[in-house]
Amino acid sequence: MSLWVDKYRPRSLDDLHYHAGLSARLRSLAASGDFPHMLFYGPSGAGKKTRITCTLRQLFGPGAEKLKIDQRVFMTPTKRKLDVNIVQSNFHIEITPSDVGIYDRVVIQEILKEIAQTQQVDLNARQRFKVVIINEADSLSRDAQAALRRTMEKYMSNMRIILCANSTSKLIAPIKSRCLLMRVAAPNTAEMQTCLQYVAKREKFDLPPEAAEEIIQDANGNLRKALLVLEALKMQSPDLTGPLAIAKPDWETYCNKVADMIVQEQTPSRVMEVRAKFYELLSHCIPPTVILKTVAERVVERVDESLKADVMHWAAIYEVRMRVGSKKIFHLEAWVVKIMSLYKQFVFGFSMDDFEA
């Protein structure tokens, strides 16, 4: 028994609830025997991985669902050992190279070489090739992407690559041009409504459409989140009637609190308090870019129209800097101070710079 997210995950292309056009296309691709490299991209929780597994099933039959997980050890050139978890069936292999950070190139090269060198031995297999699924392809390092591009062409005869990414912007152009791009858009409200109702029906309970509506509003196109929230709701108040308190993730609530603090007061001591909050968030392993984005969005809601553009502008600038730098808190704080001083200038109606100079 498992969580609903997994229990009602569609297993084959025919079971998918939305993006029927995409499913049809995948089906025909799988049937044609001329299967290309593919790049699935789209927002989180839209169903990319589900579609990939369904496609695999279409390609290889139910055998592709017999998975095993191995831990493999790779050696870097500097003799460091890397442990990587690999999910594989007889027909495909699935890796998340971003787990190993900057050493992802080593993993990519080793795995691809290994796959490329071995022919499919199972004579009953429907396809002559194996599939390599690379998750979180947008966090692949430049080196790893470069390592990928030649192998993609060279070993086309016994290997296909399926990349899964949130956006294509971080992939180098040569890779994009070698893949068939598949955009998996987030489901719209009606589609999500169907999915939630489907789950409710299968679980044999009544989901009031208004409740579902609320969940969908909150999930913002992320079906996985919607399903998790639904399950949490069902667990916490089994009858699902009356006013529903949609559980927001705690880090989000906390980020909002930080944003409110910034808007309330702009003093050095407040800067310190905000810093402590940031530390708390960071120590909970919330990615700093996510923190910045969430807080900025909340601040934008709270400030005057004329400031909104500036807030976002600076958030963007500091996010870029943060990605380059290594001490995230520096940039978070710099942004906070910037916003505070902007806000103050706005409130007092003149620029303090002239005043001080």
Partner: protein, 719 residues
Amino acid sequence: MGRLFILSENQTVAGLGRSTAGLLETPVHKLKEQLSEETAIRLSRPVAAQAAAVATGTLDDQLWVDRYRPKRFMELLGDERVHRETMSWLKEWDYCVFGKRRGLKAKKPSEENPLYRDEYRRPQEKILLLSGPPGLGKTTLAHVIAHQAGYDVLEINASDARSGQVVDDRIKPALETGSAVGSKRPVCVVIDEIDGATGAGDGGAGFVFKLISLTFDRGKKRNRAGEKRDSKGKRPLLRPIICICNDLYASSLTKLRQHSHIVRFTRPADIYLSKRLREICDIEGLRADSRALTALVGLSRGDIRGCLNVLQFIKGKNQDVTENVLREAAAGMKEGDGSFTTVLGNLFAPLSKKRVKDLAMNELDESRYVGRLSRDLEASDSLDKIAWGCLEHYTNLRQSDPSLMRHQKANDWLTTYDILSGTMWSEREFAIMPYLTYMLVPFYPLFQERGGGRVDRPKAGWENSVKTKANEEIYKSLARCVRTTSNNQSVVYRHLMSNDILQLEFAPLINRIISPPLRPVNSQVIKPVERALLQRLVEIMVSLELRFVQETAEDGQLVYRLDPPIDVFVTYDGKRAADIPVSRYATRHLVAGEIDALLIARQAEAVEKGKTKTLDFFRGATTHEEADEVETPESRDIDGKLMKSNEAQTSQAKKRPADKIDIADKPPVDFFGRPIVMQTHTTADIPGERPQKKFRVSYRFNEGNSAAVRKPVKVAAFL
């Protein structure tokens, strides 16, 4: 050919031997005499030469630092208490090192007298750690004291490779043989500049790590029969080790600090130092006015080695020691002592008046800070730490900054610093390094104030990183749980494993999923709705490998802890999220019981299929069986007792009045050895128990559970 040649050579030698008298001009014995005379002259010359050099001050083949290095304990300069402390520590070793030789006591008194703290009567801390700024004479002290106490010194310093290997190759053999090669005195290992050793970071191979483990090696107790020692076994440390470092708080020394006796060096009083300099100047025939010498001491901050070098340099130029000459000669000494807290302090506070005087700076020099500070920063070698320090300190300052203008600027510099250093490390572009220091200098004009608060070591960043690591570990274990389950049941949980999803969506929501509003009631009388809820909860928890583990809290109360502790992810600022009901002990207890039951059932199923056989399974299986089978209403008594014996089913056992077994362990037997069954008697003497009827217990085996051993057992065996 070869043989022939050798033969002919032999002949020649023989020939020479025969005609010695004829061939040599001077006889052999005279040659020998000449040789010995020459040696004698050569041997005596350095002493004379040195004496001459000291007397006339002409010969400069030796550094003054070496020439005037103290040779005896009494000559040492500096805080006498420090010297004494060091000496007394070394003397503590006397029994261990010299004890036997001096024959103070009979053999091995330590073994017979367990009162001694240490088997070999060694001091408690087996390593001495001398720390202090350079040039105060730490190395000299170590050497002098070791000699004075009768040791030979084995010195390991920065010129040797300092990996874990050295400990094995050099230190260990020396310690084990007890003396250095070719000497009779016992050895004392002096490890100089240990803060530069490879740290404890690289696993077990680190120098410091090995050193510490050396002190923990316990020798096998020597048995009386003889000195039969295990040659492979580790031997105890029987010789003193002295370590010397500049920065006591170097990261590589963190481990060592706990295990060593720490002696801190402070700069000696300026008077003594200048007095000593005065003496040396007199011996060397250097004219020096005492004001200049005092200035020199102040300039060097007590670094006597530096002072001597400067003096020798001036002497070499044949000048008199005056203040101006000194300033010129000691130009390089202006640089700071490099400790990063000092540098950090300098960034936030102007130079003290005294220091300004020492350096003889005028107003203009004082106001020029960029060069001075960047030099300081460069010398400090820990820019990152200073940057952290700046971040932590700048908001504490008192100057008002209403528009946050200065804060903005400070942050601009900090972010620029971070970007540059980040790029430098990631792109291996170390040419950027020299520019980094200038990113931190602006803190001086922005925030300097006299008498501002003391600058502390930055620690928030570090604390945060520790916490983050701990939480990352929890995420990892959660991911591992998810992974193992997907391995076992071919469930596709793996889609949840990716980091972002795990952190942002899964962790907060799973916490809500596993904390439904359950009432802590007996699982027997639970309402059907709640029953379903409970079942679902248990299934989810089992499938994710989440458990409630019973623990005793600090105040002695029993608590159930979630394992892995993923509830930290809904706990911010020490408070749990408001919308998650606090699950109470009783609830968790109930859930834990159910989880166990389910697991046991699973295991039993697995066994049925003949797949696995675990060790603890037998106990578990019987538990399950009892819970299912024995529970006939009449069997309450026995049942209760059985229940008590296993922990898994505590929920029910707790509700029952505890029955006491007050018969002796053996069942009573009658004259013929047949057991007397006395059920009523057993319980009758417990007040409050109603007398029991006679009952029969029937056992039936559950077909699904083949775990039990099928064997007829009498009730008596259970009583």
